[in-house]
């Protein structure tokens, strides 16, 4: 990793999200953004009201272009929620999506330390510092595209399994419907009339 | 195969014995505080 032809200068941009009051209600986002300015390799840092919104994402893209950013830290919510969003955003701005790192200031900070705003802000700063330290060392990763086999296995031949199998079979996929009993039908087949329409189950 | 072993909870300090099979990885929880920081105390070999 060290002997690249011209060692690229790392330029990190930090985007602190207020999430309306979800984060800003507890964490001083402005202070966190200011703090981040001082971190190694950080060349841009600011806060937004809703980073995942259209204008929020545009801010990221613009900053990447304007400040020549090559790493991005988004300090907002759990990556389980918006990692795909922000990866796509930096990709649109020409960066490898794996050069974006998130700090979880909402689920892991503002929402669980509501009564301790000072300490929560302190923690948020640490989380951003951690993310920036990691971001500095991130490398582009290649995603591979693999072909998808046009077949589905449905485990369980009850009403849900049958329905899912039929829908996909009608759409043209080959379905294996795996049922442990000798017949499909499941519990539904044992029921006489079903609510709310009171018709026969089979 | 299963033998008894002594365990100590590194969370609340509770000591207890439980069945233990060497080489089989089993999930353990402290019966008192439910933590998983449960350490098996090895028999002192020299004594």
């Amino acid at each position: 990793m060290a002997n690249k032809s011209s060692p690229e200068e790392i330029r990190i941009g930090v985007f602190v999200c207020q999430c309306g009051l979800n984060i800003a209600g507890t964490v001083e986002c402005e202070d966190v953004a200011k703090f981040a300015e001082e971190l190694p390799n950080v060349v841009y840092s600011d806060f937004q009201k809703y980073t995942c919104s259209e204008p929020g994402q545009q801010t990221i893209k613009d900053a990447i272009a304007e400040h020549n950013l090559n790493r991005v830290v988004v300090a907002s919510c759990t990556p389980k929620m918006h990692e795909p969003t922000f990866r796509a955003a930096v990709q649109e701005a020409g960066l490898n999506p794996y050069l974006m790192e998130m700090a979880n200031l909402r689920e892991h900070c503002s929402w669980v330390h509501i009564n301790e705003p000072k300490k929560a802000t302190q923690k948020a700063m640490d989380l951003v510092a951690m993310a920036a330290a990691r971001a500095k060392l991130l490398e582009p990763q290649m995603e591979t595209k693999v072909p998808v086999i046009q077949k589905t296995m449905v485990i369980g031949g009850g009403v849900a399994g049958i329905q899912a199998a039929l829908d996909l079979a009608d759409a043209g996929y080959h379905i294996y419907l795996v049922e442990k009993q000798p017949s499909i039908g499941g519990i539904m087949a044992q029921i006489d009339k079903t609510y709310p329409t009171m018709d026969c189950s089979i | 195969m299963a033998e008894e072993a002594k365990f100590k909870c590194l969370r609340c300090g509770h000591g207890f014995t439980a069945p233990y099979t060497p080489k089989v990885a089993e999930e353990r929880a402290c019966p008192k505080c439910d933590s998983n920081s449960v350490r098996r105390l090895k028999e002192k070999k020299d004594s």
Partner: protein
Amino acid sequence: MADAGRHPNIELLTLSEVQRVDGYVGNFKVTVLKKARYVDEKECTACADCLEVCPVVKPDEFNLGLSTRKAIYQEFPQAVPAAFVLNMEDCLGNEPIACGKCLEACEKRCIDYDDQDKEIELEVGTIIVATGMEVYDPTELDEFGYTQYENVITSLEFERLINSGGPTEGHLIRLTDRKQPKTVAFIQCVGSRCEKRGNPYCSNICCMNTIKDTLLIKDHWPEVQCKVFYMDIRAFGKGFEDLYKRSMAAGVQYIRGIPGDIYEDPKTKNLILTAEDTTTSELKKHEVDMVILSIGVVPPGDMDNTQQQLTLQRSADGFFLEAHPKLKPVDAATQGIFFAGCAEGPKDIKDSVTQAGAAAARANRLMRSGEVTVEAITSMVDPELCTSCGICARVCPYNAIYVDTKKKTPAVVVEAACAGCGTCSAECPFGAITMRHFTDEQIMAQIEAILAENAQDKIVAFACNWCSYPGADLAGTSRLQYPPNARLIRTMCSGRVDERFILKAFKLGAPIVLVSGCHFTDCHYINAVTWTQKRIEKLWDKLESLGIRPERLQLDWVSAAEGQKWARVMREVEQLREAVTAKEIEHTKRVITEDMLKKRTKKVKAKAEAVA
């Protein structure tokens, strides 16, 4: 149902169970065990000639033992496939001397006593889990007398009883005298909504099922009196309230209060219920001819197997856990796997069908484009550092690493098989394995950032991507409050947490280190979590030998559904942190630095010797 049997694109594998699932989204390899049917599925016309000659009589499982079947039988008349099945355990034997009657009777010759169980290999792009539910067994709630009195039956048994295809051809009778009952009592929430026995959750379907049953009774036998004992009637769905009103208008009595116990009058076999009507606070006795226990819904018994094969997670109620309750309600956390029906929680037929449609749409969306992008978060071996010791190959849950320990060729990773847990990297004693996107350097940098200032105030916590991290997220969305001193480092699997990370944290002054991951049954990487546990156990010994309290290294398994547990663990480790003294931390820093130095000089010496 019959449509599914006829559809040219659907291949039915009945009497079949999933044995093994390998691979990843778009490319799953599945082994299915198809048990012998002993009857040719395609040839059998269900003529029932065999049935007439079979001498064996067994209780019929489909009718819950309310009727009988032969050793060769069809589950129910509309069965799909329409073929018979021979139960070898019940069959008298294939020797003609023993029996062999059905073989003779079958004109089409489709019975084959030598039929074998078969393993079938499938390759599929997506998997839909529709493993359904089972009904609650009310045996443990003995006050209702289910095991003692014949006229106490479950709601599912009642279904079979009044089914025109069922054992009584649809006549409403009670079991002791086979006479039509005058009064029928329904008891709601049996096995549901109770913290102590049965299950704490609401089973969702039983209120409406009872309302439906009362209407069926009132439609056919208006003279039969119905009493429903309930806690609440939950008639929340479209058209449900109407049915409830219709049932009340038809004269069904709804009594708010669950009977404390049920006794049988030994002479009449009638049942006597004592219940307090909580709307009037009146304690009253009710004599009825028959009691129907409105039993709840439980996860099926073989769910563990499915869970482990597919590395799924379950919520506290025992049903499968969805990737996100609102954003991805039918997706599993594992890409390419979807839920339909009760596998994910108790549901009625309408909701099951709705969810099945959603699951099919999600699977279609994934397969339509013909390709998926997969993250290449795999391991890489540096052949320069590898000594061919073979440890990585031994710990890899996917057999994704190959090392020839005899020929001493460096380890090779089969990238397509590597799932990226990082266990190999953590276990390699020579630091020869790098994890893409979760490198040692990146993780070390996070540790350094945490402990750069006021290290004594901070807890270094590792959380795995699939369980503990989302478990902490759930604590957040539930707004559970806990002390703000922990700093989380996310790894794909707790198996990634190298002992060097932990020692580094202690060396930099961390008072407490917490490692958290999935419960053993939830482990997303088959059994990688067992290596985490072994590693931590070893480290406890090592810390102790260095004179460091092993208590300072904490371990917890927290699932994605255990937000409560996460908050509790956070409170507990904070207490432990407060007990760590400054002196202790200084001592730890010193001994670990010394220990690391010692190791390094040893290595240098060994190298020098090797060169010499």
